[in-house]
């Protein structure tokens, strides 16, 4: 599965380069930037490129936090600009404007979580772990019911404004074969800090998440390198 994901991404990258070269025309140096509203297609390429970068960044052993943060912030800007405004003609594709903006926002954060989940999958070969747990379902904006299971790396090509909201059924099927029974193990201490435990309502959540939310948060945090397993500095050598 990992191999096929890699191949897929590579092809996408080629397409991205071509699209960007064509779409960069809207960055006309003679016009003030504010006057240039990039067309949906250009934003979409930039969006996809940013998601690719995000994934690439997360897949590093220890992600460059600055790079990660800048890419995520840029992604949010792009998303915000792609949310259709009332004065503009409706962008063809999203079924409902607020839903798309929210789902895009959630999908980028969910992409973060999903990437971490796939990181776990990669690391599952390390002695002591068996299989990757269910990916952490990210919480959507308050009040909004989560659309469905979080996307995974393999579903990256499903994300994007052109295709609208996530395709729930296909995503759920991706995780059917993952055995989460080992997550009752006492290896994972509850987190003292880390991702906020997400009280998700999505249908995917109902598949019994054997691992306690807080424990999974802690695990994700450790593996992404954000949580120390912190202890006071040891004696100098």
């Amino acid at each position: 599965m990992m191999l096929s994901k890699g191949l897929k991404r590579k092809r996408e990258e080629e397409q991205e380069k071509e699209t960007l070269a064509a779409d960069a025309w809207w960055l006309d140096p003679s016009l003030p930037a504010a006057a240039q509203a990039p067309p949906a297609a250009a934003s979409s390429s930039l969006f996809d490129l940013s998601v690719l970068k995000l994934h690439h960044s997360l897949r590093q052993g220890e992600p460059d936090l600055r790079h990660l943060v800048l890419v995520v912030n840029t992604l949010r800007r792009i998303q915000a600009s792609m949310a259709p405004e009332p004065t503009l003609p409706p962008v063809p594709s999203p079924p409902a404007a607020p839903c798309v903006a929210d789902s895009l926002l959630a999908s980028s954060d969910a992409a973060l979580s999903a990437s971490m989940a796939s990181l776990l999958e990669d690391l599952s070969h390390i002695e002591g772990l068996s299989q990757a747990p269910q990916p952490l379902v990210d919480e959507g904006p308050p009040g909004r019911p989560t659309g469905g299971s979080p996307p995974s790396l393999g579903a990256l090509d499903l994300l994007g404004p052109a295709t609208g909201c996530l395709l729930d059924d296909e995503l759920e099927g991706l995780f059917e074969d993952i055995d989460t029974s080992m997550y009752d193990s006492e290896l994972w201490a509850p987190a003292s800090e880390g991702l906020k435990p997400g009280p998700e309502d999505g249908p995917g959540k109902e598949e019994a998440l054997e691992l306690d939310e807080a424990e999974l948060d802690y695990l994700l945090d450790v593996l992404v390198g954000t949580q120390a397993l912190e202890r006071p500095p040891g004696p100098g050598r």
Partner: protein, 433 residues
């Protein structure tokens, strides 16, 4: 510096730093090595001849490490070197990789004792029956030997990647900064450090900003500045609170609405911050500009210089190939009248704050025969093109001058161009203006 081995990635220079007198110049590389150059004393023959820099010492500062818990390799690349002010015959410097800071002591040995009673010249014990008289060992000159020894290792202080270290003017403490935290260390104590800045959010999903650089004020031991990925500078006073999360001053320039783009934040991220020698100003570098800030004015910089504004229309491509994330450093000259920073195509730029003139120079083998005068370069952006101009589209973005340093007193600069070090001296104007 010509390398006798095939140039490899390990030879890529990652930091350059003059010591406080300018007599020594240290470089760190991706392979964890430190090379120190020493300026030769001026020749007595030629009155205006100034000393050149030769290799003084080379040592392996950091080795790659493996973090077994995270299954990650910790790079040995030297991120920063900072010299301690010299307090005796020995020189000391701090070198750091992503996680561990080390204090090195550099000493010279140019004499050795000869004439031991019990040992012979090779150190072997003498046959006592051959010893008929006592002699006093005498110190005889020997070939200079430079010895480098690790005196302290400051480990386990950082969860994230260290981007800066800075020695306090009190010469007793120093700070180290990573993406989210800044720690204060005492130079003699390695088993603990004091956390003075922590910007890690309770929920990592809320992370939107990281620390990019930090430095102590050159004169006020209680003041330091740190810069962020959002382009802001925070001046902190350690006397105000133990944890300096609240800044004393926040320096931030409002975004220019006419230049707004998706990449506004990325290009505003400050990659380097340096106090002026006077302590009155700060110099910052972001992707397209260098800015001079007055410590007394938080609202905006007092001066802004365009490093390579012709890249503003290429930001999309530079984002795509990740060049937009390159971190360039900046430097003041000794009198704070000229500032310098690197760019692409092995170009570096200098801005004279008084005359407002600027120049683009190139660090390359072709243009740098010994004693050759550097020719100013020009990048043309369309329109009239002069003969030696380089067009924007033919710039080589793999040739980046990220690390530069200026001698503390004289017009001597050190430029790191990938795995080559260039040292340029201004022989005509050796005095500071």
């Amino acid at each position: 510096m010509p390398s006798h081995r095939m140039p490899s990635e390990a030879d890529i220079i990652s930091t350059v730093e003059f010591n406080h007198t300018g007599e020594l110049l240290a470089t760190g590389d991706k392979g964890g090595r430190v090379v120190i150059f020493q300026r030769e004393p001026e020749s007595k023959n030629a009155a205006h001849s100034q000393g050149e820099y030769d290799v003084y010492s080379t040592f392996q500062s950091h080795e790659p490490e493996f973090d077994y818990l995270k299954s990650l390799e910790i790079e040995e690349k030297i991120n920063k070197i900072k010299w301690l002010p010299q307090q005796n015959a020995a020189h000391s410097l701090l070198s750091t990789n992503d996680k561990t800071i080390k204090l090195w002591k550099i000493t010279e040995r140019d004499k050795r004792p000869e004439g031991y009673n019990l040992k012979d010249e090779e150190g072997k014990l003498k046959d006592l029956s051959t010893v008929t008289s006592l002699q006093v060992p005498v110190l005889k000159p020997m070939d200079l030997m430079v010895e480098v020894s690790p005196r302290r290792v400051f480990a386990n202080g950082h969860t994230y990647h260290i981007n800066s270290i800075s020695v306090n003017s009190d010469c007793e403490t120093y700070m180290s900064a990573d993406d989210l935290r800044i720690n204060l260390w005492h130079l003699a104590i390695t088993d603990r450090s004091f956390n003075i800045v922590d910007i890690k959010p309770a929920n990592m999903e809320d992370l939107t900003e990281v620390i990019t650089a930090s430095e102590f004020h050159p004169h006020h031991c209680n003041l330091f500045v740190y810069s962020s990925s959002k382009g802001s500078l925070r001046l902190c006073d350690m006397r105000a609170a133990a944890l300096c999360d609240k800044h004393s001053k926040l320096f931030e320039e409002p975004e220019d609405p006419s230049n707004r783009s998706f990449f506004s934040e990325i290009i505003s991220s400050v990659s380097d911050v340096k106090f002026s020698h006077s302590g009155r100003y700060m110099l910052t570098r972001d992707y397209l500009t260098v800015k001079v800030w007055d410590l007394n004015m938080e609202a905006r910089p007092i001066e802004t210089y365009q490093v390579h504004d012709y890249l503003r229309s290429k930001l999309c491509s530079l984002y795509e190939n990740d060049c937009i994330f390159d971190k360039f450093e900046c430097a003041w000259n000794g009198s704070d009248s000229v500032i310098m920073t690197g760019a692409y195509n092995n170009f570096f730029r200098m801005f004279d704050r008084n005359t407002k003139r600027d120049v683009t120079l190139e660090a390359s083998r072709e243009s740098s025969k010994p004693r050759a005068v550097l020719k100013p370069r020009r990048v043309c952006v369309g329109g009239k093109r002069r003969r030696d101009d380089i067009s924007v589209d033919s710039l080589d973005f793999t040739k980046k001058i990220l690390h530069t340093a200026w001698h503390p007193a004289e017009n001597i600069i050190a430029i790191a161009a990938t795995n080559n070090l260039y040292i340029f001296q201004d022989k005509v104007n050796s005095e500071m203006h």
